[in-house]
């Protein structure tokens, strides 16, 4: 680290010092300000509904009923669906890249994935609304979905979107496993697959889990693509959490609500606007919890490797 080489005792005022701290301060202030704003502006909704805002299952703004539970359910189920679809493929591809591919080819794979990560969500949305929703509608015809706008459609689209995120992070985690462990296992006569499954994957496990969680957070925050294919149907609450049937129905996520027309309608009306900001706060909390857990796991993974090498 650079810092350790610098003499810590000599701190004098300088333009660089002042500007650095100033800009850091601005960045911090923006973060704190944004959070504060969410809290203050959403206050009317909390006052009006209390905890019912989070667990309430009904959202009818004309009657001032604000319950976010169906949207929380939508957000979570869609993100989990995306994760279930993307995690095996993403981690599988990362394993292939790290454990089997020669370096030159691995870089090619990595470039592909980096590019894939760059494709904007509105483009995914466009592909979703014009291609994917019809495809889902036809493929799952036997299950009689009402239309192509389903939680599943949103989940599949999100799965495609977070695939590069999972793969990049899984790739990092797997490459963090010391090469000596791999070499030792191969030296014993284990096959590349046995080495991958019994040495690399267990070693990288916290990192892989972190990859999945960070991608989950990303999926939960995605707006535009989901907005176009989820159907935006309010008040969808599954009769049973375990039932798969609701996946082929329309729904609403926190983000699709926030991106929708109600944000414009609510503007200027404290209670309704408060409810919208409240949704923002709930969304932020969910994402923060997931991201924190992911970051924590990543640190564990990193520490583990430090001990080893």
């Amino acid at each position: 680290m650079t810092r350790s080489a610098l003499n810590p005792s000599c701190r004098r005022w300088s333009i660089t010092l002042i500007l650095s701290w100033l800009f850091t301060g601005v960045a911090l202030a923006a973060v704190v300000g944004g959070l504060g704003l969410l809290l203050i502006e959403s206050a009317p909704a909390w006052k009006h509904s209390g905890f019912e805002f989070v667990i309430g299952k009904k959202w009818f703004f004309r009657q001032s009923e604000f319950g976010a539970a169906p949207m929380i359910y939508g957000s979570i189920i869609v993100a989990i669906l995306a994760m279930i679809l993307a995690a095996p493929v993403g981690i599988g591809a990362a394993i292939f890249g790290v454990e089997y591919l020669p370096r030159k080819w691995r870089l090619g794979l990595k470039v592909t994935v980096e590019l894939l990560a760059g494709i904007p969500s509105v483009v995914y949305g466009l592909l979703g609304i014009l291609l994917l929703r019809n495809w889902i509608y036809e493929v799952f015809q036997d299950f009689d979905p009402l239309s192509g706008d389903t939680l599943l459609t949103a989940g599949v689209l999100l799965g495609l979107m977070i695939l590069p995120t999972i793969m990049t992070l899984a790739d990092d985690a797997l490459r963090g496993v010391p090469g000596t462990l791999r070499l030792a296992a191969r030296g014993l006569g284990l096959t590349a697959t046995e080495t991958a499954l019994h040495v690399s994957v267990p070693q990288a496990f916290p990192g892989l889990l972190a990859a999945v969680l960070l991608a989950l957070g990303r999926a939960m925050g995605e707006t535009i693509a989901v907005f176009l294919v989820i159907g935006r149907q309010d008040n969808q609450w599954p009769s049973s959490i375990l039932s798969l049937k609701p996946l082929l129905e329309s729904g609403q996520t926190l983000t699709s609500k926030l991106g929708g027309s109600e944000t414009n309608i609510a503007y200027g009306q404290p209670l309704h606007w408060g409810a919208i900001m409240g949704l923002g706060l709930v969304l932020l909390s969910l994402v923060v919890i997931i991201t924190l857990t992911g970051a924590w796991l990543q640190r564990i993974s990193f520490r583990q490797h430090q001990q080893h090498s």
């Binding site: 020669p102 370096r103 000596t180 462990l181 791999r182 070499l183 030792a184 296992a185 191969r186 030296g187 014993l188 006569g189 284990l190 096959t191 046995e194 019994h198 040495v199 267990p202 070693q203 583990q304 001990q307 080893h308």
Partner: protein, 266 residues
């Protein structure tokens, strides 16, 4: 002379267009300890790893020539490299202990290779740990993590792990360079015990060690910046060749802080 268990024939290694090791042809007889000495960076480790094709796992290394293990070619289409490596074991400079228990470490190879039925595992582990002179020290804490052992013990654990797979050749890459003198002595003692039942190829820097344990040695030196095998034979024979091979002279003089009694002054 016994039938050679390992034979290298024009074995050379290059990385891209850069040569690392000039062709080496060596016969390594069955039983005993075969030493490989030479300055750092001369390609001793690379040579050792190319014997059981571990070089393939490093990026960009290309091996040509051939190695015969008990007469069977090592390089070639259709060679089962994994099976090969289970018969030609490897011990590294730093002990590499997997993050699991001592017992699981000992059985790490056995468990996956599938040669030994499950009910035999405990016996195999005990036998291997005894052979590695570790049994008495760890028999009460087999379920404890292997990483809690001292570095010297860890190296012996790695040896036990290799022995457990039923290997007949063990490649050792400076196995004592990370150890203190006491642990080094323990490992050297082990090598002397093991040479009755196994063939050991030992890369080392330590001339005393070479003298103590090796029957035959090969010297790999740097000639025109490329690793080249310059001499082979008994250590005493090598010392007589000192004056003919300047690299050998440089090496032996630098390595020896005090002259080995029998060494001729060059």
């Amino acid at each position: 002379m016994l039938e050679p268990i390992l034979q290298t024939s024009e074995l050379s290694v290059s990385a891209g267009s850069k040569k690392i090791l000039n062709p080496v042809s060596l016969d390594i007889p069955e039983g005993g300890v075969f030493g490989i000495i030479g300055p750092s960076g001369a390609g001793k480790s690379t040579f050792l790893k190319s014997i059981n094709r571990l070089t393939e796992l490093s990026n960009g290394l290309k091996v040509s020539g051939q190695v015969y293990h008990r007469g069977d070619p090592v390089y070639g289409v259709g060679v089962d490299t994994d099976n090969l490596r289970s018969r030609i074991g490897m011990l590294f400079q730093q002990p590499v202990v997997f993050p699991c228990s001592i017992l699981a470490n000992t059985l790490f190879g056995v468990r996956h290779l599938g040669k030994v039925p499950r009910k035999e595992w405990n016996n195999v582990a005990e036998k291997a740990l005894r052979e590695a002179a570790l049994w008495e020290e760890v028999k009460d804490r087999l379920k404890k993590p292997g990483q809690q052992l001292s570095v010297g013990q860890q190296q012996r654990l790695c040896l036990a792990r290799t022995l457990a797979t039923g290997t007949d050749v063990i490649l050792m890459d400076e196995p004592t360079s990370a150890l203190d003198p006491r642990s080094t002595e323990a490992i050297e003692g082990l090598i002397l015990d093991l040479k009755e039942t196994h063939t050991i190829v030992l890369v080392t820097h330590n001339m005393r060690q070479t003298e103590r344990v090796c029957r035959t040695v090969a010297f790999i030196g740097l000639r025109d910046k490329v690793g080249t095998m310059l001499a082979t034979g008994k250590l005493t024979d090598l010392q007589t060749k000192c004056c003919e091979i300047p690299e050998l002279e440089d090496y032996l003089c630098c390595e020896l802080t005090e002259p080995i009694p029998k060494a001729k002054a060059c």
